[in-house]
Amino acid sequence: MPSAATLAGMGKGKTLQLRDGTEWEGAMSIDVRQAPRPGRRDEEVDVLIVGAGPSGSVAAKHLSAAGFSVVSLEQGHFPDRNAYAGRRPEWELVSQKQWHPNPNVRDLPRDYPIETSESDINPLMFAGVGGSTTLYAAHWTPFLPSDFRTRSLDGVGDDWPFTYEDLLPYLDEIEREVGVSGMPGNPAYPPHGSYPTPPLPIGKIGYKAAQGLDKLGWHWWPGTNAIPSVPYNGLNACVRRGTCMTGCPEGAKSTSDITYWPHAIKNGARLVTGARVREIEVNDNGFATGAVYIDANGREHRQRASVIILCANGIGTPRLLLLSRSKRFPDGLANGSGLVGKRLMMHPFSAVLGVYEEDLESWRGPFGQNVDSLQFYETDEKRGFVRGAKWGAFPAGGPLGATAFVGSKVFVGDEANVEESWGENLHRTVERRFGHSVVWGIIGEDLPEESNRVVLDPVLTDSDGIPAPKILYKFSENSQKLLQFHVARCLEATKAAGAIETLVVHQMRDTGWHLLGTCRMGDSSATSVVDQWGRAHDVPNLYIFDGSSFPTSGGVNPTATIMSVALRQTRHLIAERRSQEAA
């Protein structure tokens, strides 16, 4: 082990190492937010965090609260609630472009493009403070006990270094910070205390969805969402506008620009937006020394730090490691195992639309989950595949939503032609479906496979000329069988609820909203990238706190677990500050 200073003095008390901010003068395109305590030029901070989405925000808030000097570099900007289109009549039109979750469709300079010609799923994300949760549906679905033990229980994937029970105290704390709304007592989970805010109304669509499941004796539960039903931690109460997936114009959907950053900034953390990191630098001893980043005017800057935490998501984090090649790390930083970028899991997804006779006001929000079902979540080998899926019931949106889902036109027949889609048939379709539809979204567990991976594209670059990621991803046989089984059951439930028309979109392409597994955690440096605390095996002062570190994907939306894991790792870093080595 190279000789190294330790960080015994790191984050002592509240005496932060201050900066004067002069470094940023003239760089008008970057927005630096910090409580009024200016810092010194080019100062080395205790912790540098890349990415201000949920995982980076958890780390920034808690590290700054413990007295660490923290700088966060985020390529996107601080969100402006008034820019969200939800209150405007053109909402549906712009949700198919400017607010589409696929960065390749949005085509904005703050996003990086992604080469997807060899991927069955398009990855979805958003660049900005709050990260991809700016557009998320806020379904709050922590991983279940079996998700941490797929190898022991089902002989697939890998067991996690910790259990559901180990993570539970962190989850409880995160739920209080996030302001989750929900109903306690869900029999799909071990007993769990109450949520900080009461459940949101499940609406007529929620009742319709639940009725079908009740007829079949199947599990359902009122949706648990990262959307408070009463004002909470800077958030307003949800008013059910239903435009959650294009940004909440009411400031009611829980995103870290509202729930975390005001606290972190008050604690002295510095948030630099419009700052795209292109490389993590290392010294001759193999320690990370800081990051090189480019502001929105194309000017290059350097930020030095004792510890670096990557929170750039399951694609951005391996991209950055692969970009950070050096003599010492020719295959990319922290890539001794060769696993950086590999085992990408994005959750195969299908949707079932059920149309009903009754008026269900199915444009009403929230566009979180109104009810969910975990009836077929656990493995049953008789089904011919392992693991399972979560179903979440959504409203169907406005009149353009009669044929579209989350900005993509998918609910049209295979043989869609002019006569079928237009003319009198348009009126009939809208009359039949609009306000009368429930969409079940089926999120299937993705098993880790090394062939599904993120690499650097040799040609495509972002707006700063930095190589863009390329995705190589194929639906596995297990995923295909899993989705076929679930779609068949979901159609049964939809029909049991009395649907007069059903449509299925199988293995939908624009559904890579969960980006996991590309820098997996584990005990051995030969078979994992980071240890159970998120620390890179090969670089003792480099950490990964986002979903890249997940050994398996679960079959539920991952943000609750991503944030809980980030808090667990942050607490460990704080507790171990005296033994933390630095360059």
């Binding site: 029999p187 799909a188 989970y189 071990p190 499940i202 009122p222 008013v239 059910r240 002019v418 237009w422």
Partner: protein
């Protein structure tokens, strides 16, 4: 700028796609060729090029035949014209009133109210069916 001729061609095509039928007005009857057209094309700049291309190909042709030709030879252009037309149509207050769509309005719930699924025993049945998770193996 969309000129008068382009507007006229657009309206004729829009009426093929969205005719007066099933108790609903035709696209041209709710002003889809008015300022809303310019507004949509500025909001969705990406649609402008295929829209203009499609309108140019359709100019002077019988509208139904023009739509069929576009569908065969330039479905992207027809898609753009169709999205502009339907986007404008469903933004029209008259159309919204007819289909019963108030827009994505506020309608807060009452968090203090006991949900009906609790009051009527629906949720109790789910609980009574018992736990369905597999616990962490010892």
């Amino acid at each position: 700028m969309i000129d008068a001729l382009q507007r006229k061609t657009f309206l004729a095509i829009a009426d093929v796609l969205i005719p007066a039928a099933e108790g609903m007005p035709a696209a041209s009857q709710v002003g889809v060729g008015d300022e809303v057209l310019d507004r949509i094309l500025s909001l969705r700049d990406d649609l402008r090029e295929p829209f203009v291309r499609g309108i140019a190909a359709a100019a002077g042709k019988e509208p139904q035949a023009a739509v069929e030709a576009l569908n065969r030879h330039d479905p992207e252009a027809l898609g753009a014209i169709g999205l502009v037309a339907s986007g404008a149509y469903y933004m029209s207050p008259r159309v919204r009133a007819l289909i019963g769509y108030p827009g994505q309005e506020k309608r807060p719930g009452n968090p203090d109210e006991i949900p009906e699924y609790v009051a009527n025993g629906m949720l109790q049945q789910v609980i009574d069916r018992g736990p369905i998770y597999r616990p962490t193996p010892k």
